[in-house]
């Protein structure tokens, strides 16, 4: 670009110089001859064209002359030849017309052929289109059926959906109500448990209070009695002592009644019967020996066997007919006194000691700290 290269003034002046040179050259070389040569060329072309035309015309002339010569044989028969020439001309023109008509006929025939072929083509196209159309129609019918079926299945699935949704809702409601019930029950449960605890505590308190009260009363009674006793100062003389034993006379045994070897080993348990006449002794030799106690004598009545280990405790029953014994072999046994036979042995109890709190209801105390209560014995 001229702008891009920034031509300076010097260059513009150079350009002017060059332009002037070109003008000079043109003046020298072109202008004098331009018009001249162009006119010359035009004339030359015109001349050659004219020559060509002349040639054609001479040829035509020759032709005509020749024709004339041929026709010119009957120049004496002027008129006839004239007529014949006229007739000939007519014939010539008619022949020309004939050829024209033939040509046109040929053209028309060609057109007809073209048109029939076009028609056949269009008919073929039409048939094709019709078949396509019928195919499309059958397709449409098939598609419509499909559509109907799909609609039916769709409505069915929607119904099923709806049913499921309703069930789901119902289940949810039931679930919610059950949850609430559960909550309520839970709270009730908690409340009831609390109340129970409260009652139990209350009961315990009451029991405690009763016990305390009872104890207090007893204590008070005892105190009262003691006080009374203490307050009652009775003058007690020595001789009155012998006759009136106010409460209790105690004496320490000073003399041994009798002494005998009862068992081979140690003696663990002794028991008088209710009458006081019989003594039962149990020892480490696993026997229970029955002694008759007279005034001064002790005679062996019998020995009860059957225990597998040392006897630890012996007891008569209320009637004095049965003997209950506990032994180290973890068993308790019952014998009858009369026939000195073992009646019952109770094993697996680990009992070592027993005693009878009340003669009527024997209580067994075992090592396991369980308490067996014999309500009846058979």
């Amino acid at each position: 670009m001229a702008g891009g290269l920034a031509y300076s003034n010097i260059e513009l002046s150079i350009r002017r110089v060059i332009f002037k040179e070109i003008e000079k050259r043109n003046y020298r070389e072109k202008e004098p001859f331009e018009i001249l040569i162009s006119t010359y060329n035009k004339l030359f072309d015109a001349v050659s064209e004219l020559r060509h035309e002349i040639l054609l015309l001479t040829i035509q002339n020759e032709k005509l002359r020749q024709e004339n010569l041929q026709n010119g044989q009957g120049t004496l028969e002027g008129k006839v030849t004239e007529k014949s020439s006229v007739l000939e001309q007519k014939i010539y023109s008619l022949q020309e017309e004939l050829t024209n008509l033939h040509r046109r006929k040929g053209e028309h025939a060609q057109q007809i052929v073209d048109l029939t072929s076009k028609l056949q083509e269009t008919e073929k196209n039409l048939n094709l289109k019709e078949t396509l159309l019928s195919e499309a129609e059958t397709k449409i019918i098939a598609l419509k059926d499909e559509k109907k079926q799909l609609e039916i299945s769709l409505s069915e699935t929607e119904g099923g959906n709806q049913v499921l949704r309703d069930e789901h809702q119902a289940l949810q409601i039931a679930y919610a109500s059950i949850e609430e019930k559960l909550k309520i029950l839970h709270y009730e449960n908690i409340a009831l448990v609390e109340r129970l605890m409260a009652y139990k505590a209350h009961d315990a308190e009451i029991l405690n209070k009763e016990n305390e009260h009872f104890v207090k009363i007893k204590q008070a009674q005892m105190q009262k009695e003691l006080e009374e006793a203490a307050s009652e100062v009775k003058v007690v003389t020595a001789d009155r002592l012998l006759f009136e034993t106010p409460l209790l006379s105690s004496s320490i045994p000073t003399k041994v009644h009798s002494k005998f070897d009862a068992h081979e080993g140690e003696v663990n348990a002794l028991q008088f019967n209710a009458a006081g006449r019989m003594l039962a002794s149990g020892g480490g030799d696993r026997k229970i020996k029955l002694w008759d106690i007279g005034q001064n004598t002790c005679s062996l009545r019998g020995s009860l066997t059957g225990s597998n280990a040392g006897i630890t405790s012996v007891e008569f029953d209320a009637n004095g007919s049965l003997i209950l014994a506990a032994s180290n072999d973890f068993a308790t046994r019952v014998w009858t006194v009369e026939d000195q036979r073992l009646r019952v042995s109770l094993t697996n109890q680990r009992s070592l000691y027993f005693w009878v709190l009340e003669k009527k209801i024997p209580i067994l105390c075992t090592q396991r700290r369980t308490i067996l209560r014999f309500l009846t014995f058979k």
């Binding site: 031509y7 150079i14 060059i18 070109i22 050259r25 072109k30 001859f33 331009e34 060329n41």
Partner: protein
Amino acid sequence: MAEDREILREIWEGRLPVCFTLATEEVSTPIAPDPFYLMVPRLTYFPLVTDKVRRHFVRCVVPEKHDNEMWLEFEKFPLKWHYPIGLIYDLLVTNSELPWQITVHFDKYPDNKLLKCPSKDVVESHLMHSLKEADALKHKNHIMALMQERDHKQLWLGLLHDRFDQFWSANRKLMEHSAEDGFRYIPFRLYAPQLTSKPFMQYLVKSIENEKRLTLEDLLQRANLNFESKGPFQVVIHGIDLPLETPLQWISEHLSYPDNFLHLCIRYSSP
């Protein structure tokens, strides 16, 4: 880009008056044919404008030679048809006798000096070849490669039918260059028959070197020939003398021949 349309137009419209005469020894009709005058454009090639000449003269030659190739001659020099007409004139014609007298021959084609030119397609391929060579020098052949077949045809037809607008609308693309640089190398041929036996000289000259725009003088310097030895000289192109300070880029854009080359002749103004 070549923006000076005035100059471009003037160069395109350059014409030379030529008088074609049939060689006397080849005339076979009793009357010699008239000489044929024609205004030939400076920028085209002889085979493109001599159809009428041939038609005019071939009638007067022995019938056996009617199919021979026609060749032209000036003062015993056979004219190379692949040179532009303006170049041949600048090179050969030292006297300015106008119209230019050229002799037409049909016989004895000088095969050792001239190439044969059987048809206009040969001229077309020659033009395309020169354009590609010039574009290779200017743009590393980018532009010619980018141009489509259509544009190539436009160049050829514009030249063939002497249509300035048609030719230059396509040639404009070949004159493009990036804003600050010029062409990579300037495509030119230097003709100096008095100094060297080579038909022409062609060497690499840039358009811009060391930030300075090169001029005609720099181009001549790089020829390594002593131009002054034969006396005062001028650099002639399209029949005009170029001042030596003209920048090469401008010359290449505006004064190139249709084949995009600058054909510069060294002419000595010897008495």
